[in-house]
Symmetry: C2
Subunit: 295 residues, 2 copies
């Protein structure tokens, strides 16, 4: 499945924006280099694209220029999580996007700090006034991002993932783990976009429902790709989950069962957007892509 | 010097507030335990006290009840920074406040996540609407906290500190390191309090000036205490800076020179508050205490 044009457009727009956010003369050189290494020059920028597409779906036709820094804040959170996930005490990954992981390139101490600093920078960026956005909406967006990032979201999911190696979770535990580790930030990307577009009530709920099912479909697709994808297009070694003894959607449901569940979630994600009509076209296309990559 | 009553009052008020913030049923048990271990049962709560005293100085007489969660957000940031500073790749500390450090008690992976989660929780708490605070002021407070925490603040200071072992900084480099590593969050505590009290213009500037000089005095006092304090009252082994080969205010200026500089900074911190009159009494007392502990 070909990536939608909207995704490529957002990725192109994010690059100079992220570059600017990471060019702060007050930041010590080593730390700045580690942060730039971890953010720039790679990544599909799916989360910013989901954020901006959600804003468009809620009526902010000019989201891509006006709200771009906020969308990049979500990407900074994603980048920080990868830096810390790669640490020796966590997944112990030497490579990330085909280059040395942050701790391999800069040492563990700087990698801890770079991750910490990227998280703080994300909130700094999201707290800077955005044109045409009410302060209350921006504060709500910051709360959404923080909740999705923290102990009841992504951090919590990573903690469950660590514990899962020693004590494999049951089905409910697996879906909870996946919802927190991956789904929380993906879902938050959409809700942040909606909130920054000033959406409340029904429109916000449509986008939130889409985000929840999209997150589910995305993670199951990840599990499927780990089994089926050609190494080159997938970017990591096929079968790494099985070798690590991880419980996944595929190990639980089988390949065909996982596909059915991902398809159902993707269909539900798209269906949730129907009340928003044509404004949701980009988001709908992204949701189908995120859920159905490569098959 | 006896700690001011206001500090003890705030510490007593913070404990149940922090306990409540760390009792979220959505958080996995291991992670929750590591976060609670790192925050509860210790700490003078100086930063929350500075935040609330600054709010009172700017006219929020009821700050201690109304703004308490925001003050605790600053403490969560402080606690996260201690967890990560103690990591083996950083200061490699086995003990913190007389108990095992987070990574000794829960392992490195959980300690990384606990620090990450505490940072996110701080921003979640600060983004929750506070009674009587305009959303724009709260957003500004979040921006202040994020800036002080991130790569141009505390994280950057820690990066400079790491680099200082290999290449000792000159005087300007040392003051920059100290201003970022310690001063940024202390100063932010005051400015956040002022902003949440709705202060702008001259009152905010008074508090900001106080915070800047207070941070300087506090860190120099830390350097002095490392040389002079009895182990029991100081809480860490005397002379640890010198053994680690650290450049400090004392190694640069000598003990007497450091005392003079700390005194001057403390006097400037108190003088900055004069235009605020009696409302600034608690803050002024705290500033003198923070700068002049134990001598």
């Amino acid at each position: 499945m070909k990536p939608p044009d909207f995704l490529a457009d957002v990725a192109a727009a994010c690059e100079p924006c992220l570059d600017g956010l990471l060019a702060d003369g007050e930041v010590p050189a080593d730390l700045a280099a580690a942060m730039r290494h971890s953010v720039l020059g790679g990544g599909k920028r799916l989360r910013p694209a989901l954020c901006l597409a959600a804003a468009r779906a809620c009526g902010a036709a000019d989201a891509q220029t006006r709200l771009l820094p906020a969308a990049c804040a979500v990407e900074l959170i994603h980048a920080y999580s990868l830096v810390h996930d790669d640490m020796p005490a966590m997944d112990d990954a030497d490579l990330r996007r085909g280059r040395p992981s942050c701790h391999r390139a800069f040492g563990e101490a700087v990698a801890i700090l770079a991750g910490d600093a990227l998280q703080a920078l994300a909130f700094e960026v999201l707290a800077r006034p955005l044109p045409g956005v009410a302060a209350a909406d921006q504060l709500a967006a910051a709360a959404i991002l923080a909740r999705a990032t923290g102990p009841a979201g992504m951090c919590g999911g990573q903690a469950l993932d660590l514990a899962a190696t020693a004590a494999p979770p049951d089905d409910a535990g697996l879906w909870r783990l996946q919802a927190m580790k991956t789904g929380a930030l993906l879902g938050a990307s959409l809700r942040i976009g909606a909130r920054l577009a000033g959406a409340g009530g029904a429109a916000f709920d449509c986008v939130a429902a889409c985000g929840e099912r999209l997150g589910e479909a995305f993670q199951i697709t990840d599990d499927i790709l780990d089994v089926t994808a050609a190494d080159a297009s997938w970017g990591k070694a096929r079968g790494s989950d099985a070798r690590a003894g991880k419980v996944t959607a595929v190990s639980r449901l089988g390949l065909e069962g996982a596909r059915l569940r991902a398809d159902a979630a993707a269909a539900a994600a798209a269906a949730a957007l129907e009340p928003l009509g044509a404004a949701a076209a980009s988001l709908s296309e992204l949701a189908r892509y995120a859920a159905g990559r490569l098959w």
